[in-house]
């Protein structure tokens, strides 16, 4: 069983370029920031390394950081430009009973993150959900289509500047 700081040291030694830093200032759980295009290699290492053995991905959550510039369009709705979208990975080792949280951030206009669905099979649906609700594009995902919303839905509902359509297939939405 290792603490998050120890895991960070191991990762930093193994991947000096891809591991961006650890944020331990937060009151609850330290976060390890990773380069979005290197996340797969790091996850393979985390899963296969004998001393870490992160054998399951508990949760993958997409987050709209809403840290860009906010403007209003002519109807008075918020529009966010710039900034980032983030993905948080909560990993768990069933046998060694330690946990770690990883974070990757990708630019809002072009949110490309490498898929980890080859590493943990549970990532498949979680990534589809993050794509569906936030529009994060997971590279090399086997089947990146909407999962919760209808296939012909437009827009990404969980983005902070999302505006609901008035009608869907002739049904009034609001």
């Amino acid at each position: 069983m290792k603490t998050r700081e120890e895991i960070f040291e191991i990762l930093k030694a193994q991947f000096p370029d891809a591991v961006l830093g650890i944020d331990a200032s937060l009151p609850t759980e330290p976060l390890i920031s990773i380069d979005p295009l290197k996340i797969k290699d790091i996850c393979v290492f985390l899963r296969d390394s004998e001393e870490l053995k992160f054998d399951s991905l508990m949760l993958l959550s997409g987050v709209d950081d809403a840290n860009g510039t906010k403007t209003k369009d002519e109807q008075g709705h918020d529009v966010i430009t710039g900034g980032t979208l983030s993905v948080y990975y909560h990993l768990d080792s069933v046998y060694l009973k330690h946990r770690v949280t990883l974070k990757v951030s990708a630019p809002r206009e072009n949110p490309d993150v490498e898929s980890v669905s080859y590493v943990w099979r549970s990532a498949d649906w979680h990534e589809r959900e993050a794509f569906d609700l936030l529009g994060i594009n997971f590279l090399n995902h086997p089947n990146l289509i909407r999962i919760l919303m209808p296939y012909d839905w437009e827009g990404y509902p969980l983005r902070k500047d999302y505006k609901n359509p008035e009608f869907y297939l002739g049904m009034k939405v609001n």
């Binding site: 919760l148 509902p157 999302y162 049904m171 009034k172 939405v173 609001n174």
Partner: protein
Amino acid sequence: MGLLDKEFSEGNIVIAKVDDLFNWARLSSVWQLGFGLACCAIEMMATSAAHYDFDRFGVIPRNTPRQADAIIISGTVTLKMATRIKRLYEQMPDPKYIISMGSCANSGGPYWEHGYHVLKGVDRVIPVDVYVPGCPPRPEALFEGLLKLQEKIRNESMRKKTV
């Protein structure tokens, strides 16, 4: 009907209006489509299970819309589901009745404001006969809804409507 507790001698004839006879038969065997949507479906299940026993009102779940008289919309109707509900409704033979069970099916319920994927009331896609309020309604409330529906059926007429 109050007939069964009376004793008859042989060869009796009961005279009733066709409307009354048919309505009585129909309202005593409202077969519902076995169809659950969300939380309310669990209360609907509890209503048909032991303790509440929906069967005593003649309500039996049928697994195909083509054999069903009534459909209980038990739960939140999402936009993705709404088109399917409409199709199920269209597959049911006439006369058909709809009980909208719970706040979500009535009006969107707790999801009325921010629910981007929730249909705010099933009556936007299909006509509803009885609304049962509650989140979720108790089984007794569903009984009340059914009794209201029976009342409605009792007052129907088969006479040709003049324009």
